[in-house]
Amino acid sequence: MPEISLNILDVAENSVRARADLIEITVSVKPGEDTLTVIIRDNGCGMTADQAKRAQDPFFTTRTTRIVGLGLPFFKQAAECTGGNFRIDSEKGKGTTVQAVFGLSHIDRMPLGDISSTIHTLVVFNEQIDFKYTYEYGDKSFVLDTREMREMLGDEISFMEPEVSLFIWEYLDTNKKETDGGAEI
């Protein structure tokens, strides 16, 4: 994975397959503390403690198409090699939280990448799931909550409609720039 945002897309797809109906994603950049933290929390089917532990092992997967599962191990390794840390908290039937902390200025930290496109892809292609995305930079932040969007837009209009899809992308892109001042992350 060349960028952190693609790891987020990949891990959030696990939440989709875990039949979550709410996925909360937080990206928090704290230059003062020199950290970049990613939290992906879902209310999907969850895992047992044993499965959560084994999910970090590349030779464990619930899929049947192949015998290796690299999504979470990639993410874990990417965080840990920057002096950060990684944890999975999961409860069967309740949901799963994945948290990765990266050393922000560490030479081995991959770029955040196109996070706005990642969130856009998740929101538009999984309309049946609610998303709450929070982006923080220093003490500034903004939120995209699809439940609030539905309230404004009503139930009839799809997020895939070109005007809506474009609005979602512009909302993410504009507000990110205003939050981080266009910093390269």
């Binding site: 397959r17 198409t65 799809s158 005007e163 507000n175």
Partner: protein
């Protein structure tokens, strides 16, 4: 900061214009693999390019663009599968946004399979 309030204006503008978006049996299904393997090799921009083009060209009644998990051919990702009613599935491999738009133009609109990008072409090429 942009506000979600703008969605109210979009809603008012689109009132009455929105058709039913039910998937129907005579629709062509275009599926993009979006598991770890697909995402790592660039599936996200492929999915976005296809979906945007289908919406912009008002083809969404005829073509539905969706995502799926691992297809089991990770070395050929990004993969786009085209399923037309009554026809055999066509698997396009190692897609880029540009190639995917070519598939949209020539195959989905023009009706001609773009043989050079198919799985069988890639597999035959590897044997030679």
């Amino acid at each position: 900061m942009k506000s979600l309030e703008e969605l109210r204006a979009i809603r008012a503008k689109m009132q009455g214009k929105v058709g039913v978006r039910a998937e129907s049996a005579d629709q062509t299904r275009v599926v993009v693999g979006m598991a770890t393997c697909g995402i790592a090799s660039g599936a996200r921009p492929v999915l976005t390019a296809l979906s945007d083009a289908v919406q912009e060209q008002n083809l969404s009644e005829k073509i539905s663009v969706t995502q799926t998990g691992c297809i089991g051919l990770c070395q050929y990702e990004p993969i786009v599968e085209v399923m037309e009613p009554g026809k055999e599935k066509v698997t396009y491999v190692k897609m880029t946004p540009e190639k995917a738009l070519e598939v949209l133009r020539l195959h989905l609109i023009g009706g001609q399979v773009v043989t050079k990008y198919t799985l069988s072409a890639a597999q035959n090429g590897a044997k030679q």
